[in-house]
């Protein structure tokens, strides 16, 4: 349920905001000690999307969010809560 909540919270963000959020999520993912839990095919798609400059696009951002929710669920929930607070102003 967390990933749809995340996508809802980011849908109105400006591209620069999405980009810095993507960087934050990627940093959390690459710093995680739980990457054996993330399916390899998701890891490789995130890898390729970053190389192609597409990781900020909704399709890949959703995949990145999914990977972070698996590897670092508590950190992911804190990000959603922060986004929702900011959205509600």
């Amino acid at each position: 349920m967390d990933v749809p909540r995340f996508m809802e919270a980011v849908k109105e963000l400006a591209i620069e905001e999405k980009h810095s959020l993507m960087e934050e999520l990627l940093d959390i993912l690459l710093s995680s000690v739980n990457l054996e839990m993330v399916p390899d095919y998701i890891g490789w798609r995130i890898n390729q999307a970053y190389r192609d400059g597409k990781l900020v696009e909704d399709e890949f951002l959703e995949m990145l969010a999914h990977a972070v929710s698996i590897a670092e669920p508590a950190k992911f929930r804190r990000i959603i809560e922060k986004l929702e607070v900011e959205r509600l102003g």
């Binding site: 990457l35 390899d40 995130i46 890898n47």
Partner: protein, 326 residues
């Protein structure tokens, strides 16, 4: 000129190592060192992949252990890698950790002789395609495509001296400038004994670093690494650590049980700070100046790097570009 490289640990999935190497190359570092440990993914297979996916950075394999992989096979694998990326490969040979070797049924006997013999075998095979020493003789039926510098991973005084005597380079696995200065002088003894010039060997400080804007987080990330280092320190450095035998036994027990929570309880921050460059990124600038001043020609930015790896690598690159590039 000082070279800067980054350690990657193939404990992590290949998709992450691959992406990290891509980012390291983008940031302009010179190379990556792939650590080698029996519990992790194969460093040779990881290197094979990275060499085919990168184009500018070199890949170092280290530290490869001749007790776990026969030196002849190390040479065969290394020569095969030169076909993928000529002139972009380095290897480091070291005797490894006694406890780990014993846990997989290998006795670590006569490490100095083992390393000297391994370097001789590997070097002869890579340069002449054949080796004949004592009971060992054999050949490669293909041409290595380039020269491969052979480093030695060293911590104790005799191994450091041997590195200076026979290595193309040495990986010195300390982080404290005081320890690094002592180690550098030991390497120099070997260099002088062999009648070599200090410039002919790449003396690399293989640092353990954990940096973050929040120093507490940086320390927490560093604790398991500091504990491992503490348990493998040579006597000379251990004397300076001021750690009781009782404390050391507790740390060893926690490591053997992989009980990280216990390690967080028993490892003192002071000990961590003696073994790891830990704190805000700015602390690295001062330490790097000291280490370069000693004479080190390469700085390896070793794991864990910090609780946020991308942020830390970018900060480090800024520090190097702003203050230390020459």
């Amino acid at each position: 000129m000082t070279i800067f490289s980054v350690e990657v640990v193939p404990k992590d999935p290949l998709w992450k190592i691959d992406l990290l190497a891509y980012i390291i190359e983008e940031l302009g570092f010179s190379g990556v060192w792939i650590s080698d440990h029996p519990h992790n993914r194969s460093s040779f297979i990881t290197a094979s992949h990275l060499l085919s996916k990168t184009s500018k950075i070199w890949t170092g394999l280290g530290v490869i252990n001749p007790y776990t992989i026969n030196p002849f096979i190390i040479a065969q694998l290394t020569a095969s890698l030169t076909e993928i990326a000529p002139n972009r490969i380095k290897i480091a040979i070291g005797a490894g950790d006694k406890t780990t070797l014993e846990s997989i049924g290998i006795e670590r006997v006569k490490p100095l002789e083992k390393i000297r013999e391994a370097v001789t075998i590997i070097r002869q095979l890579l340069t002449k395609k054949k080796v004949t020493i004592d009971r060992i003789h054999g050949r490669l039926d293909f041409n290595p495509r380039s020269n491969v510098p052979i480093y030695i991973g060293a911590q104790g005084p005799k191994m450091l001296q041997l590195s200076g005597e026979i290595g193309d380079g040495v990986l010195v696995n300390y982080s404290n400038p005081e320890d690094l200065e002592w180690a550098y002088n030991e390497v120099r003894k070997g260099i002088e004994k062999a009648g070599r010039r200090v410039e002919s060997i790449d003396v690399a400080a293989y640092l353990t670093i954990s940096l973050d804007l929040d120093p507490e987080k940086a320390v927490k990330t560093a604790i398991p690494y500091a504990a491992y280092i503490l348990c493998g320190l040579p006597e000379k450095i251990m004397e300076r650590m001021d750690v009781s035998e009782e404390k050391l036994i507790k740390v060893k027990e926690a490591i053997q049980k992989a009980d990280w929570l216990r390690l967080y309880e028993i490892m003192d921050v002071d000990i961590v700070k003696k073994l790891v460059i830990v704190g805000k990124p700015i602390i690295l600038e001062e330490k790097l100046r000291e280490i370069i001043e000693i004479g080190y020609s390469q700085i390896v930015l070793g794991a864990p790097t910090g609780p946020r790896i991308l942020q830390t690598l970018r900060e480090i690159k800024k520090i190097i570009l702003k203050n230390l590039s020459n």
